[in-house]
């Protein structure tokens, strides 16, 4: 069992690293706990990776020994270091679905506390830890469900590749995620962390050991994100099927490329932010405390990643949304080239907007207006993507299946999320709205209403491809209706206490906000329950659902031209791309032909097409 071996090796690693650290702290007379955890963790991660199979597939090569890699097998292939991108995609999706549901339960706990103004469910400290855990776990889901899960599964298929450019690095990028989840779930046992998912010092440098675990988890997660981004860029550049020019590349691949560029370069900054906090805790450095240090340094470095990070989340979501709208509207994507340009503009602008998070932080006032203008500029490319979605829907004959319903909900929700963002980008209004529930509602409108709805759209859309079975359409519609309505009640109402000044991140609040909060809490509980039909639908359909055809949606992109689920090598006969992927309504446009000039020896008849 690779998992058991991984845990045992991790324990051995922790023992080795911890002992080295203990030896050193014994000599210097420093406090032993935090250095021991840090060094032990580093060794434990190496042990864990080697134990789950990296040693067999990769490590032996460093010592000149032969390696064995067998990505096939039954269910146990999901429980080891596996280089097949489809297995990795499912590993990501399954892990993150669990994290999503856990973090959702935490949110319901928070809403139970906030249902009235007093304190009833949590103490102040457990409330803060719950709030922080909910935040960071959902951020992990938002970053990795689409970039790790769907990109991994779909991207190589959609560009006609056999796998990603670096399959072993791909497996590595998944297998550092389980330690992240374990560390985060362990934090409450070590005093928790009360600084939210943003970990501002000096709170973060003074938090109990739980805070240290959070920083290690975030750092590890960054490694996964960087390696994933690197892999997708290399895959898109080198692994496209013959004939797939840049102009014939599906929009989802473009959006993954754009997000990967951000993830490759910006994630380093948050890693440095976490490293600074760890250094300040372990080596008593003074990045953020006098003399010399300044907490603003953290905020700059943190937001230099964490603002671009929302584009890592939302860009592939936009890509999936446009993809789905085009296939269900049976129309080419409106202004395809402008959308690609908009992606490029968002990537460029995302690096110069971070300080709009710092309007009230005490940074130089001369920075406020430039950052306000730059931030508001980003609404232009976002608007182009928006218009593209609307233009694709315009005068089309929509097939209102569940994936399309969710994709259209993205358009609706993100409109609200985007418009309320203007008030937060604007210095004058942000000063009043900063740190209120207005920010919380705005953020949930963009990331939950925008990205999570797109993730559910993608989930229903690619479910037949991933599992080989059809989901239940009626249950899907019930899920959509409940989630869409209750989601909108929850977060639309949440704007109201925000505009009149109710602070976020507090367990107790003035009683005059009680009525609004009660409505939000009731709707939020309904929202939580709305995922029950989804869970049942997914599990039941995966096991007992009717067999899905290879191309249930009649889509033209390459992932639908192979069997469901695809074979290990993705395409029995390699495709040659000959035209636009969205050539609906024009029968002369053929996206791909199969069987020509294929060097594959075990040639089988072309699937689909």
């Amino acid at each position: 069992m690779p998992l058991v071996r991984g845990v045992i090796y991790a324990a051995i690693g922790f023992a080795i690293g911890g002992s080295i650290s203990l030896g050193i702290t014994n000599m210097t007379g420093e406090d032993y706990k935090e250095p021991m955890i840090v060094l032990g963790y580093v060794f434990a991660i190496i042990g864990w990776l080697m134990g789950v199979g990296m040693w067999k597939i990769w490590g032996r090569e460093w010592f000149g020994k032969s390696t064995v890699n067998d990505p096939t097998g039954g269910w146990e292939r999901y429980l080891k270091f596996n280089t097949d991108h489809k297995v990795i995609g499912i590993q990501y999706l399954a892990t993150l679905a669990v994290v999503f549901l856990l973090a959702g339960l935490l949110a319901m706990g928070l809403r139970a506390e906030l249902a009235d103004s007093g304190q009833n469910v949590f103490t102040k400290n457990t409330y803060n830890t719950t709030m922080s855990l909910h935040g960071i776990m959902m951020i992990a889901v938002a970053v990795a469900a689409v970039m790790g899960g769907f990109s991994n599964y779909v991207l190589p298929l959609i560009i006609g590749a056999e796998d990603v450019a670096f399959p072993r690095i791909n497996a590595l990028s998944f297998w550092v995620v389980p330690p992240v989840v374990v560390l985060l779930l362990l934090t409450p046992l070590f005093g928790g962390f009360d600084f939210g998912w943003t970990a501002y010092p000096p709170l973060a440098t003074q938090a109990p050991i739980g805070g240290l675990l959070f920083e290690l988890a975030f750092l590890t997660f960054g490694i996964s994100s960087i390696l994933g981004g690197l892999n997708f860029i290399a895959t898109i550049i080198t692994q496209r099927a013959p004939g797939m020019t840049w102009g014939r590349m599906p929009i989802f691949a473009w959006s993954v490329l754009a997000a990967s560029i951000i993830s490759l370069t910006a994630t380093q900054w948050v890693a440095y932010g976490m490293l600074m906090i760890i250094f300040e805790r372990v080596f008593n450095m003074v990045f953020f405390s006098p003399p010399g240090g300044n907490a603003l340094l953290y905020e700059h470095i943190f937001w230099f990643y964490s603002h671009p990070a929302v584009y890592i989340m939302i860009l592939p979501a936009f890509g999936a949304e446009l993809e789905i709208i085009s296939h269900f509207a049976r129309k080419p994507i409106f202004a395809y080239r402008w959308v690609v340009r908009a992606f490029a503009a968002i990537v460029a602008l995302s690096f110069v907007v971070w300080a709009h998070h710092l309007f009230t932080s005490g940074m130089g006032e001369e920075l406020a207006v430039p950052f306000m203008v730059l931030t508001e500029l980003i609404s232009i490319p976002t608007g182009i993507i928006f218009l593209s979605a609307l233009g694709t829907v315009w005068r089309s004959k929509l097939r209102l299946k569940v994936p399309l319903l969710f994709a259209l909900a993205v358009v609706f929700n993100f409109a609200i999320g985007g418009l309320t963002g203007i008030f937060l980008a604007d210095v004058a209004t942000d000063i009043a709205l900063q740190d209120t529930y207005f920010v919380v509602a705005h953020f949930h409108y963009t990331i939950m209403g925008g990205e999570m709805f797109a993730i559910f759209a993608a989930g229903y859309y690619w479910f037949p491809k991933i599992t080989g079975r059809m989901y239940n359409e009626t249950l899907g519609r019930i899920h959509f209706a409940l989630m869409f309505i209750l989601y909108n009640i929850t977060f639309l109402v949440m704007f109201i206490p925000g505009t009149v000044g109710m602070n976020r991140r507090v367990a107790e609040y003035p009683p005059e906000f009680e009525a609004m909060n009660l409505i939000v809490s009731i709707a939020a509980f309904g929202l939580g329950l709305s995922f029950l039909p989804w869970i049942y639908n997914m599990l039941n359909s995966w096991i007992r659902g009717p067999k899905a055809p290879d191309n249930p949606w009649g889509a033209k992109t390459l992932e639908w031209q192979t069997s469901s689920p695809p074979p290990l090598e993705n395409f029995k006969v390699m495709p040659t791309v000959t035209g636009d992927p969205y050539g609906y309504g024009d029968e002369s446009v053929v996206h791909a032909r199969f069987g020509k000039s294929s060097p594959s020896s075990q040639a089988a008849p072309a699937e689909g097409d």
Binding site: L230, A234, T267, G292, F304
Partner: protein
Amino acid sequence: MTIHVPNVNHRFDPLTINRLGLWLFLVSDASFFIALLSSRVFVSGTSTPDEINQVLGLSLTVLLLLSSLTAYRAEVAAENNDMSHMKNMLLATMGMGILFVFGVGYEWYEALQHFPPSTGFGTVLFTLTGVHVTHVATGILTLGFVYFRVRKIETIGDNLFAVEGAVKWWHFVDVAWVFIYPTLYLLK
């Protein structure tokens, strides 16, 4: 080697793909060093304490630049299938790298007396040199693994990227120091 499904539709050979992957990683890591350098200015401005050992800083820089030269010679020798020269140059590079690590150790020993980590300049000095020396250590390790792999072979064959990649990584670490050295030692 791995039993992976042969990639039949690529237009790029594995060497090119590996090179691209390495360059992307270098871009990513360069981003990390930019963050490091910016924090130096934020925490301790542009002032450099007088106690800093300029001779040591210059010696470390010269040493690392020399090691890049030998690394380059190792790569050229690998391309020309000159195995014995390549191995000597790899050893020389590793030797200078190890000497550099000891040099940084001495730098830390001195720094602890004048500017410990609990001072502004000490914070950036220990962080920048610490992160960099970790990179140097990974470079030495990589070169060591490559040396171990090529120690008995007659022609370079499939191992060209192993040498090339390790050498490129070494150059990157070297270039990073070329930025760190003036930032720590020469700013006034």
